[in-house]
């Protein structure tokens, strides 16, 4: 599946076309004074394979929670099962012994499977034997959240080559956006094809402030790096019950549609991504069978 990334794509996602973000087809964005006005069916899933990472650039140590948070929101709103791949340092051959710090495979919920890999294992995936692409049976949407702490990596180059999208999970304030920009610039230097999404993890006092921050951030990123980030709205990190929910129990204000589309995904898959995807599929299939 070829997706071209020409000027028309940039125009569509430029600031002048920001209105679709506020008229999202995600479940319920408006409500009357008394209750939710209507419920829309789950957004369609259009991509084939996608590697995403939710990064919290202004607060180290929250990578796992942030990725799990978003994965849970995605499975709640769609029919997808997602995969969470935690990449951690120092867990390698020792893992086979009983002194493993945490399970290498577990189900966070029936539709989120988590696999833990060491850095060494991750790198070895890209050097696995010849690719065995099986396109005859079609491709089921495969969504993997790559969870890692950038500060623990000596070089982000390898993991950057595997990423399709990075979600910047930040506070709605300029300092957080500046840290987000640093991360974007860093990753962009390794892989300029990564798509970026901005997602606020708390609500600003007004919607206008959030719009203002996204527009300015988008301007800066576009000006200096030539990128066009999308905006996913806001998704509370904690105390999610304090935030308005629609009748389906979904958090209002969060629009997952950009994540579920194939727009911006580079195709065909690079050799590294193909190998990584095949290896992950094998791992998840084997472990799922045993765990169940």
């Amino acid at each position: 599946m070829e997706i071209s990334k020409g000027p028309e794509k940039k125009l569509k996602r430029g600031l002048q076309d920001i209105s679709p973000l506020f008229q999202s087809t995600a479940p319920v964005i408006t409500q009357n004074s008394q209750n939710i006005s209507h419920v829309i069916a789950s957004p369609p899933v259009l991509f084939d394979v996608q590697f995403v990472s939710v990064c919290v650039p202004d607060h180290a140590g929250d990578s796992f929670l942030a990725n799990a948070r978003l994965a849970s929101e995605i499975v709640r709103r769609t029919d997808l099962s997602t995969h969470l791949v935690s990449i951690v340092p120092g867990v390698n051959a020792l893992r086979v012994k009983s002194q493993a710090a945490f399970p290498a495979f577990e189900f966070l919920n029936p539709r989120i499977a988590r696999l833990t890999l060491s850095h060494q294992e991750l790198w070895s995936f890209s050097r696995e034997g010849p690719m065995r692409l099986d396109s005859k049976n079609g491709i089921q949407p495969f969504l993997a959240f790559l969870e890692f702490e950038p500060a623990q990596f000596r070089s982000l180059a390898r993991i950057a080559m595997l990423l399709d999208r990075v979600i910047l999970y930040v506070l709605p304030d300029p300092m957080s956006l500046r840290e987000a920009y640093r991360l974007v610039k860093n990753l962009w230097s390794y892989n300029p094809e990564i798509e970026y999404e901005l997602l606020f993890r708390t609500k600003a006092p007004t919607q206008k402030q959030e719009e203002f921050l996204f527009e300015r951030f988008s301007l800066i990123v576009s000006r200096f790096l030539g990128l066009c980030p999308d905006w996913l709205g806001d998704l509370p990190f904690q105390n999610k019950n304090d935030f308005p929910l629609d009748s389906s129990g979904n958090t209002m204000g969060f629009d997952p549609e950009p994540l579920l589309s194939a727009e911006g995904l580079q195709r065909p898959l690079s050799p590294e991504k193909s190998r990584f995807w095949l290896e992950l599929q094998n791992r998840f299939r084997k472990r799922s069978f045993h765990e169940r």
Binding site: P57, H59, A60, D173, P174, P205, R216, F217, F224
Partner: protein, 174 residues
């Protein structure tokens, strides 16, 4: 401890040609700043901070500078006098459009009130090499992914954009 009058006397020695000005707008007036007209027709805005000037204060400081420019209709030079500066503050402020000169309050042992408060002009380099390490518990627990103080990962133009964003966002919230 230095009082505003001590600082005013010290500043008058530093800028002998500058004359005091009245504040054009009462909303800009406060107990720790005053205005002077320099010999070239510009305005010197002297702001005194008797504690360490922190990064959190930058936004308000820049917002006030902008308001002063609007009211005086002439270029403003900031004279910032502080007990100390948090690391990185002066580098950030040196990137903004308004020229700012940094002074540090030095206490001497002289019994004279006027000379007991010395005001020394400092550069960002001098501040960084002599200022104490900031080591609050909050910073050890929560630190951004990028290394602390690695400002050179962003260019001056990029930093300027983010400083302007902070300033504009502060206006929007006000």
């Amino acid at each position: 401890m230095a009082t505003l009058s001590d600082i005013q006397r010290a500043v008058s020695i530093l800028f002998p040609e500058a004359v005091p000005m009245e504040c054009p707008d009462p909303s800009l007036q406060n107990s720790h700043s005053f205005f002077l007209q320099d010999g070239g027709g510009g305005t010197l805005w002297v702001e005194v901070v008797l504690v360490t000037f922190s990064r959190e204060q930058i936004t308000d400081y820049l917002a006030q500078a902008k308001q002063i420019e609007i009211h005086y209709h002439c270029p403003v030079t900031g004279i910032l006098i502080s007990q100390d500066y948090e690391p990185g503050v002066c580098e950030l402020l040196s990137l903004v459009r308004i020229p700012i000169r940094f002074f540090r309050i030095q206490n001497s042992s002289s019994p004279s009130i006027v000379s007991s408060q010395e005001i020394l002009e400092v550069t960002p380099f001098q501040i960084n090499s002599s200022s104490k390490k900031l080591s609050s518990s909050k910073e050890t627990q929560i630190s951004p992914i990028s290394s602390r103080g690695v400002w050179n990962r962003l260019t001056r133009e990029e930093l300027r954009e983010f400083i302007q964003l902070e300033l504009d966002f502060a206006h929007k919230r006000a």
